[in-house]
């Protein structure tokens, strides 16, 4: 009996681990130049077709760019010298309910919102150092200059 319980618990743990691992929220569809992902404290060099996960931080180099397609059909891309975090992604494919929070430290970002904002305008939010952009349903772009770089630019 104890063995059975232990086995069941192991199975549950294994399944939880598997689902956490398999739970990609989107995939990299375009990529050029230097692109890295910070995931769980490690730096990963991704390839086109790879999954991205909630809490991933996407980093592009000075000639880098990357484009991702998410489960709700929203699309997000970053230009060179960008740092972008996929803070939260929740999407119910039956009801299209959920929300998507992205934050941007620096660089350029383009967004085409998908089913989440079709269902709930404002469900996709982009946080910049100065503001929160709530997307009601649209294509839009954001550029954020690194605060230090902006200060250096001042004479």
């Amino acid at each position: 009996m104890m063995n059975y319980i232990k086995g069941a618990m192991l199975l549950v743990l294994a399944m939880a681990a598997f689902s956490a691992y398999a739970d990609g929220i989107g995939k990299i569809k375009t990529m050029s130049g230097q692109v890295a992902i910070e995931r769980g404290g490690k730096i990963i060099t991704p390839a086109v077709g790879d999954s991205v996960y909630q809490t991933d931080k996407i980093i592009t180099g000075k000639d880098g760019s990357v484009g991702m397609l998410f489960a709700d059909d929203s699309r997000i891309s970053a230009g060179p010298n960008s740092v972008l975090a996929l803070d939260k992604f929740a999407f119910d494919s039956d009801t299209n309910d959920g929300n998507f929070d992205v934050s941007m430290k620096k660089g350029t970002l383009s967004v085409i919102s998908g089913k989440l904002t079709q269902k709930t305008p404002g469900a996709l939010k982009v946080k910049t150092p100065a503001a929160i952009l709530a997307v009601r349903g649209t294509e839009f772009s954001v550029k954020v200059d690194e605060p230090e770089a902006a200060q250096e630019a001042k004479p």
């Binding site: 995939k27 086109v48 397609l69 059909d73 709530a134 839009f140 772009s141 550029k143 902006a150």
Partner: protein
């Protein structure tokens, strides 16, 4: 009125000599004592605390622009809207093509941009946007896994648009109408999906990127009774991401 025109000349002179500070003190000096009409006061009231003349003067070292937001024109003519909520609690709405806002220091400036500005500011990000997911449907001959003449003609173009994509994820689902036994239709629906899969692999799509399934006669596009010929139900739905 005569006094006013003199005042104007003086004002211009004092402005050109002493700049804005002189202008302000000048305005202050002549305002209340003589009790001029409200219209005159209004005419010389500095806008937002600044003289209209001062606006012409070059501003020293404006703070660098740190953030820019811009709504891009959309496929299908939909109008985009973004709510901007600043950390200081102020908010703004960007609505419509190229509707934009820039932030320099504490100053928020709304403007309407254009295609060239969009390219210059965000070009490389815009170019990196993936293509939207697409769906296509191909139709089949009664009881066969062979495309109708019309679908055969369309198929090549549809397939090519898939092949052009980077890392496509392709989902192929076969269906039948209600003619014949359900079990046979289940097999037929898978054969139809398989047919499309083979064509795509032949064109160079990696097999690993394709998933197929068959729904038999369980998911009719057009609801019909059993044993009913319906060309629209004899189909394969293809979704590409």
């Amino acid at each position: 009125m005569n006094r006013m025109s003199k005042a104007l000349v003086l004002l211009l002179v004092s402005t050109s000599i002493t700049g804005c500070a002189g202008y302000s003190s000048f305005v202050n000096s002549f305002a209340p004592a003589k009790q001029p009409s409200e219209v005159q006061i209004a005419a010389y009231q500095p806008k937002d605390g600044k003289s209209p003349f001062c606006e012409e003067l070059p501003k020293p070292l404006p703070p660098a622009v740190t953030e820019v937001y811009m709504v891009m024109p959309e496929e299908g003519g939909k109008i985009g809207t973004v709510d901007v909520i600043f950390k200081d609690g102020k908010n703004a709405v960007l609505h419509g093509d190229y509707s934009a806002m820039s932030l320099a220091g504490e100053e928020q400036k709304a403007f309407v941009g254009n295609q060239a500005q969009m390219r210059e500011l965000f070009g490389s990000a815009v170019d990196a946007l993936p293509k939207p997911p697409i769906a296509a449907t191909l139709y089949f001959l009664l009881g066969k896994d062979e495309l109708t003449a019309e679908s055969k003609a369309e198929a090549e173009n549809i397939y090519r648009s898939f092949v052009e994509r980077q890392a496509p994820e392709i989902l192929i689902v076969g269906h039948t109408d209600t003619v014949g036994p359900a079990k046979r239709n289940q097999t037929l629906s898978v054969k139809r999906a398989e047919k499309v899969r083979k064509s795509l692999i032949k064109l160079g799509v990696p097999a690993a990127n394709i998933q197929i399934s068959g729904k038999g006669e369980r998911e009719l596009l057009v609801k019909t009774p059993d044993n009913t010929k319906e060309p629209k139900n004899r189909r394969v739905d293809i979704n590409v991401r």
